[in-house]
Symmetry: C2
Subunit: 239 residues, 2 copies
Amino acid sequence: MQSTRSEVKALTFDVFGTVVDWYNSIVVEGEKFGETHGIDIDWEQFALKWRAGYGPAMNKVRQGALPWQNIDALHRLILDALLEAFNITGLTEADKDHLNRVWHRLKPWPDAVSGLTRLRRRYIVATLSNGNVALLTNMAKFAGLPWDCILSAELTGHYKPDPEVYETAAALLGLSPNEVMMVAAHVGDLRAAQAVGFQTALVPRPLEYGPGRVQEVTAHPSDLVASDFNELADLLGVG
Amino acid sequence: MQSTRSEVKALTFDVFGTVVDWYNSIVVEGEKFGETHGIDIDWEQFALKWRAGYGPAMNKVRQGALPWQNIDALHRLILDALLEAFNITGLTEADKDHLNRVWHRLKPWPDAVSGLTRLRRRYIVATLSNGNVALLTNMAKFAGLPWDCILSAELTGHYKPDPEVYETAAALLGLSPNEVMMVAAHVGDLRAAQAVGFQTALVPRPLEYGPGRVQEVTAHPSDLVASDFNELADLLGVG
């Protein structure tokens, strides 16, 4: 069955990297945290390693090597290992919890709020992230992201790219998969969504891993491709 | 453990009757639907009977007599029986589906949008309704309700007043129950929330069942009591 763009009723967004700039947010907040706590480390490497631990940790959950736990818990597991690796000592539990919640305080890419605000005029706009509901809700409040609905892998007991995440999201929205368009900077996410029948839009974020580490992505012929959320609104004909 | 109001970080709202005026919304839309479809019935009785079927249908699910199904499905079960009882014939499937979705198009009480907008400045404001996610999301868009997060019984596989609904909501918000305040017009909802440790606010909606059927409710001593959402914001000290 051929899907057409006019059928789309909801846009579901990957969040880390697609909507918010985790790299720069963590580096900036880490450097401030380091100043106030007397920690002199390379926060760029710290941010990259924290993010690098994320996929493997989720895969352990996906494959059953770890019991289900949400991203706050996985971020904390990785953080505790990183604090050791970077020889950071003397932090209180409150310090560690605050640092772990930097993922609730990530800043949006410059086009994200204005683009989502436009897209929301015509479509339901929802998160579809591996981030947990509390993280995504707090982030939306912090960053002013105008979601209609917070959808998360946490609601499904699976992590992306497991098909259950996408299937459950469409079911919760009361839509068939071809009425939903997944928007992401990562082709793996888009291909997994497409495999269950979602339409797809690729919004590359070449600076996701910081300057000097430009990410290259290759669109699938069926992907709508936009350089940011405002161009996505243009391409979808939203004023 | 004594909970204090200063601990509250999120307000969770019952929706049907507490935030939106289902009675008047259904009567008004029903009468218009009747005119365009040549159906001359008492839409006030129709609305009351539709709502009256809701509790028993949910109880069948809660007690295992019906398999899990969401409120859209339960509303449709009740609607199909009502169409027979009122001798309404000749509707297409699209007509019936449209009529069933009147629950997605309920209008807020006059204070709801302004009160929620104020409360949202300090608190996370979320639905906590037996309505399904799609219904609540569509309603929010239709009515301009500024939720931070759509939480629903549907996410838990239980219906209120089962404790799992409240417990899961607090967990998804990353909060302990005493950090959440349930806001409802119905004391049964508040007592069930309180039983798992939520704080509670009673906002009576005496006209929920229409004029001439004034609902009387008796607050528990621990309930914060407000006549509408703006008074609730006043009592909580939100400017």
